[in-house]
Amino acid sequence: MRRYIYLLAGTFAAVIHTGPVSANAVYVSNEKDNTVTVVDSKTMEVTKTIEVGQRPRGITISHDGKHLYVCASDDDTVEIIDTATHEITGTLPSGPDPELFVLSPDGKTLYVANEDDNLVTVIDVDKKSVISEIPVGVEPEGMGISPDGKTMVNTSETTNMAHFIDTSTHEIVANVLVDSRPRFAEFKPDGSQVWISAEIGGTISVIDNASREVVKKITFEIQGLRSEAIQPVGVRITADGKKAYVALGPANRVAVINTETYEVEKYILVGQRVWQLAFTPDGKNLISTNGLSNDITFIDTESDEPIKSVTVGALPWGVTVAPD
């Protein structure tokens, strides 16, 4: 049945992708085998496997596409990889157990969640030095930054808060309670809202960035699945701000949400334990990491159908795509 769906989706995708599709490198961190897999976004095939430090999780790329940053959690460092040579060229002083991070819109500052130390470390990327350490709640994880770069949001998984941080003072300016185990923070492209996923709570809290209040709580329901199996993790919102995609962990699906009505319009079946998401720069594809099936799934964002799944390394965690 699933193969049939893929086949259908593939045919459909072939029809709509008639124009030239640019090829971008897709980078996937594999938590269990200490590698980053490089996949070509056009051919959807693995082109390279890079050996990295221990337990790679958070992964992002510089805005010029020249440097890849990888949280090597068990090495207590962030590794810098030259995307031309695929060599590790340096490290950033991330502080202990870096898990997730976010790069400022100007590309100069990296904000890192240090899960074991209840800190957010602020790093000057060029100088490779620590600018500040901000004490936050227990088990900091999700990191989001407003499009204007003025507000950074960190979520703490045991404290269950979204901490709003002023990036000019590095001070917390608001703490908003959300549901259990908040894992990811994603701003809308217009900066009006930040969406927070709660893994154990099973919800998305939509926080208004002006009032810093939860304006909507989105819940999920999938026929035949226990509510406990629905565990929202990664969140991505389209460039036009109209659709949000939420990875639902062991529910093996990505939810598609209309950001106007907050209604879930579709559940896309991908692979097992779907964790993080990334768009291709043209916005035409969304890529999900499926931890337990050791693959990633390319999704067509127009039809919201899966196009193809590609086997990567062991326990794929994070994903980022090179800019054009």
Partner: protein, 409 residues
């Protein structure tokens, strides 16, 4: 004259103050929550402790078992509390096993404790439960697995984060059934807790369709434990003790008192796996569990205590975190609000077990998955796939609502 000159001065002063106020960072109040006068939330902890022996030195309970978990939770609560002006403290009182705990508890009452974690026997707990209720005190049983505390002797002011023996036995039984190891032999000890664990195993066998083909009692005759001669004897004793059993898939050991159980694995007459209080052991936590964010609490615990986290540590951590969660979400230290929050049907907590843990509202037992592990790692987690329930699959573990003898008043 003087009046005329002071009025504008006052105005200027007020204006200056106003300027100062508007120029102050808008977010000051939220920026420095630590400077707010903190509301103190005291959590008591009463335990009956005496050093215990075990058949293996690796299994000797650490002196701070349980208390260490509560302390880590207090730290977690305080990190969150900084943002809300709440501070948490732990007041630990230690008595002996089988000692009268009422005087110690009365002292806790005079110190104003409203929430007390208990790691004492069922008998001791029942001696203070009603006294606690009269004084508006909530008790959290973090130590006793006795089913009776959740059944005939349940109380509306006593919550249980420790699993029951029936939950532990059901968690184990589901896995054995899933493995198709349906034919069991039961070896049980002669002390009361051993008999209670054996009862739980018998109940699970009936519930899930396993067959106990023979039972054998191992009497505690006070023989040498870890001495050289002891080991030699054991190697000869255990095969003989398990000789001539009917055909069976697995040997179940019920020996909470650590008299013979740990000697059974690898020494049975027939080569069979061992489970129960030795071999494959069910518990509320495993020191090697890394799934579901577990490595984070494990790292935190090791850093704070220098040892790995055990079941009782997790049970105490969970109880203290429940109180922290209630204080955070209600933004209050008011016992009435905290109790109402915990007793609400939507209450839940994240506890590194892959799904939220909640309370059974008919007897205030915490619903939770059961870990099955050996000395090295986690083998499986129950409930097992396929054991379905109309309300929560976690209710396939232990005494369920239709069977409960608990009547809360």
């Amino acid at each position: 004259m003087t009046m005329k000159s002071t009025v504008p001065n006052t105005l200027i002063f007020l204006f200056a103050c106003f300027l100062l106020l508007v120029n102050a960072p808008q977010s000051m109040a939220q920026q420095n929550p630590a400077t707010k006068p903190a509301t103190e939330i005291r959590i008591g902890y009463i335990r009956a402790y005496e050093p215990q022996l075990a058949l293996s030195v690796l299994d000797i309970p650490p002196a701070d078992e349980g208390v260490a978990g509560a302390k880590v939770a207090i730290n977690d609560n305080n990190t969150t509390g900084r943002f809300l002006g709440q501070s948490f403290t732990l007041d630990v009182v230690q008595t002996k096993r089988d000692e009268d705990v009422v005087p110690a508890f009365r002292e806790m009452l005079t110190r104003g404790e409203k929430y007390v974690l208990t790691d004492i026997s069922a008998r001791q707990l029942l001696s203070i439960a009603d006294l606690a209720k009269e004084n508006g005190v909530l008790l959290f049983n973090v130590g006793s697995t006795d089913d009776i505390l959740r059944e005939q002797e349940c109380r509306s002011n006593v919550f249980h984060t420790a699993p029951t023996r029936s939950m532990l036995a059901d968690g184990l039984a589901q896995y054995l059934i899933w493995k198709q190891w349906r034919t069991w032999v039961l070896l049980y000890g002669s002390h009361e807790p051993d008999q209670l664990f054996a009862d739980a195993i018998r109940r699970s066998a009936k519930r899930f369709g396993a067959k106990i083909v023979e039972e054998r009692l191992y009497k505690d005759t006070g023989t040498a434990r870890r001495t050289d001669s002891g080991v030699v004897q054991v190697q000869r004793q255990m095969p003989v003790f398990t000789q001539n059993l009917p055909a069976h898939d697995v040997v179940i050991v019920a020996d909470e008192s650590e008299v013979f159980g740990s000697y059974v694995p690898y020494r049975t007459w027939d080569p069979r796996p061992v489970a129960g209080t030795a071999g494959l052991i069910p518990s509320s936590w495993h020191p090697a569990s890394e799934q579901w964010g577990g490595s984070q609490i494990q790292n935190r615990f090791v850093k704070a205590t220098g040892r790995r986290m055990l079941g009782k540590d997790m049970q105490a951590w969970t109880a203290a975190r429940i109180l922290g969660e209630a204080a955070t979400r209600t933004n209050s230290s008011d016992p009435a609000k905290i109790e109402a929050f915990i007793k609400d049907e939507n209450f839940s907590l994240a506890a590194f077990k892959g799904q939220k843990v909640t309370f059974r509202r008919w007897n205030w037992q915490l619903r939770q998955p059961i870990f099955l592990g050996d000395g090295r790692g986690v083998i499986s987690t129950s409930p097992q796939e396929g054991f379905l329930h109309q309300f929560s699959e976690l209710d396939t573990l232990g005494v369920d609502q239709p069977e409960t003898a608990c009547k809360l008043n």
